[in-house]
Structures are given as C-alpha cells and as structure tokens.
C-alpha cells in the first residue's frame, strides 16, 4: 500500500518541510532545499528593499511553481499583525495554504495560543488553509482543530533551540486524538530528532535552523531527508514490545 501524505487535500511526496531562513546565501538555501527533497518551504513576508534594487529575490532561486511556498507569520505577536501578513501573502500570488505563527514571548518564542486560536478562526472563515504552529498541549490542539485548522504543528522545543522533542507523551496524545496532519515544527537539532518525531506517528516535520546552521547544511539536509523516510518506515513497520529483560536472538537448541 502506498503511503500518501496530504495537506488540505493536496498530495505531497516528501514529509519534510524546510524553512528558508538563516542561510548564508540564497544559493546555499536553494541547494539545501533541493537536497532535502522537500516539496514545501516556509517563507516570510517582509518589506521590499527599495534602496537596493539588485538584492536577489527568493523567487529567482526557488521556483514557486515547483516548490510550494508556505507563507508564515514569523515575527507577529498579535492576531491583527498575523492576519495582515497572511492577507498580503495571499495577494502576492494567490497562496491560501499558510502557516500561522503568533508568538507570545520574545525570549522563548513560545506561541501565544489565545491570539493563535482567534486568528485560526478568522483565517479559516476567509478561506485560508491554516497550518498552525502551537504548543504541545492536547487541549489547545483540539480547539485549533475545531476552529478549522488544516494541520496541527506543535513545537518540539523552543524555535531554533535544537533541543529535540521535549514532551513525547503530549505528542502521542495529540496524535491519538487527531486525524489532521500532525507536523512537528520547531526545536529539532539533528536528523535523529526527525526520525523520533516520525516514529511517534507524526505525519511530517518542519526544519529550518538545524539544517541552515549545521556546519555542513547540504549534508544535514540529506540527513534529515533520510531520517524522515526512515522514521516513517519504522513507524509503519510496527515496533517490537519493550522488555526490561534480555531475550536471546540465537536459538538455544544445539548449543555445544
């Protein structure tokens, strides 16, 4: 049976979504995206640099016809700013699939969930397909689902922290309660973190800093690609029961 991955009724081949921030150059970013095999990249909405017209444009390096752009609201600390940003993003090129991220604290970058919930409701009513960055709180995740979110994206740990999944139990509970795509967003540090997320039953992971700031971003992009595939296969294969005692792998019969 083919293992298919859908977000908002659109099928994607890769379960790895990558961010396009923090790279040394656009060229490096585009190459890392290619090597990661990602079909979706997150992008930010910012003012055009009017004084420097020669500044390269992201769209010149990553073709939005080949790779799905997922506009985000990074840097927004209230619902009003987030809505404004995503309405502008839609205007740039008709994007309806968006990533909502309303932050509440400048130091830990945790999501402000009350504003996030309000924004999800408004955006869904306006026809947006909203993938929502959220805390790893099962109750909030349920409320987002009821408000029209098209994907639940709990953090593994604070954005850019590289700590990996801090609360596996909560992720498992969220997995058990929702049929929506569950994508770990933020806080992964190395490829094995992505494999763990997939083994917990997540549908995908979103990675930016762990690839962009690795000593070798291209190699790390490939490592994440493989880890997501391996983790998914492992999850689908059905792991063995855990035991605190040893069980010999070789038969006892015929021991000399």
């Amino acid at each position: 049976m083919k293992d298919k991955f859908f977000i908002a009724n659109k099928q994607f081949n890769s379960r790895l979504i990558v961010g396009t921030g923090k790279y040394k150059s656009m060229r490096e970013c585009a190459k890392a995206v290619e090597l990661s095999g990602a079909n979706i990249v997150t992008v930010a909405v910012r003012r055009v640099n009017i004084s420097n017209k020669k500044k390269p444009l992201l769209m010149d390096y990553i073709d939005p016809k080949k790779i799905t752009y997922l506009p985000n609201t990074a840097g927004c600390f209230n619902s009003e700013d987030a809505l404004r940003t995503l309405r502008l993003a839609r205007e740039i090129g008709g994007w309806k699939l968006v990533k909502l991220e309303v932050l509440g604290d400048k130091r830990n970058l945790f999501p402000e969930m009350i504003e996030t919930l309000k924004s999800t409701e408004v955006l869904s009513k306006e026809g947006f397909k909203v993938m929502v960055y959220c805390n790893d709180d099962p109750l909030m995740a349920k409320r987002l689902e009821n408000s029209g979110a098209c994907a639940i994206m709990p953090l593994a740990a604070p954005i850019g922290s590289g700590l990996g999944i801090q609360n596996k139990v909560n992720i498992r509970i969220i997995r058990a309660q929702t049929k929506l795509p569950l994508i770990i967003d933020a806080g992964l540090g190395q490829a094995s973190d992505a494999a763990i997320a997939m083994e917990l039953g997540c549908d995908g992971v979103l990675v930016n800093t762990a690839i962009a700031r690795a000593k070798k971003p291209f190699e790390m992009a490939m490592a994440f690609k493989n880890a997501v595939i391996a983790g998914r296969q492992s999850f689908l294969s059905g792991r063995i029961e855990m035991s605190i005692l040893g069980k010999a792998s070789s038969p006892k019969k015929g021991i000399i």
Binding site: V43, V45, R46, L88, I92
Partner: protein
C-alpha cells in the same frame, strides 16, 4: 514654467517626496518593483493590482510593498 508641486508620503516606513497627482503605478515604476512578485498596501488596505493606475496618491499616504524572503 510652473513648478510641479511635491507631496510627502511614506513608502515602506520611509518619507518620500513624490509629484502631486502621482498614481500608485507611477510610484511603482519609479522604484522598479516587480509587481507580480509583491503585494501592495495603501493605508493598511490591500490594493487590487489591476487597479494601480487608477489610484491617486494623497499627502501622508502610507504605502507598504512586501514580498517573500527566506524564513522559518
């Protein structure tokens, strides 16, 4: 010769002097922005890109031109 009157507007947060009776289209041409790759907001209202030649700029108008950049 009659001097063209200038008015003050704010473009992406910076004060800019433009000719009176300027339309959004004229301004975008001046700053050489690829219209297909941006979104434009006038006083917090998103503009329909098909109507840029019809909207005249007024004193103290606030224009924001945004595009996609790398982000996580």
């Amino acid at each position: 010769m009659r001097k063209i009157k200038k008015i003050k507007i704010k473009l992406n947060g910076k004060v800019k002097l433009i000719n009176e009776h300027y339309k959004i289209q004229n301004l975008l041409r001046d700053v050489k922005v690829p219209i297909k790759k941006v979104a434009i907001e006038l006083n917090k209202e998103i503009l329909d890109k098909k109507k840029l030649d019809k909207i005249k700029l007024k004193k103290n108008d606030k224009i924001e031109i945004v595009h996609f950049i790398g982000g996580g």
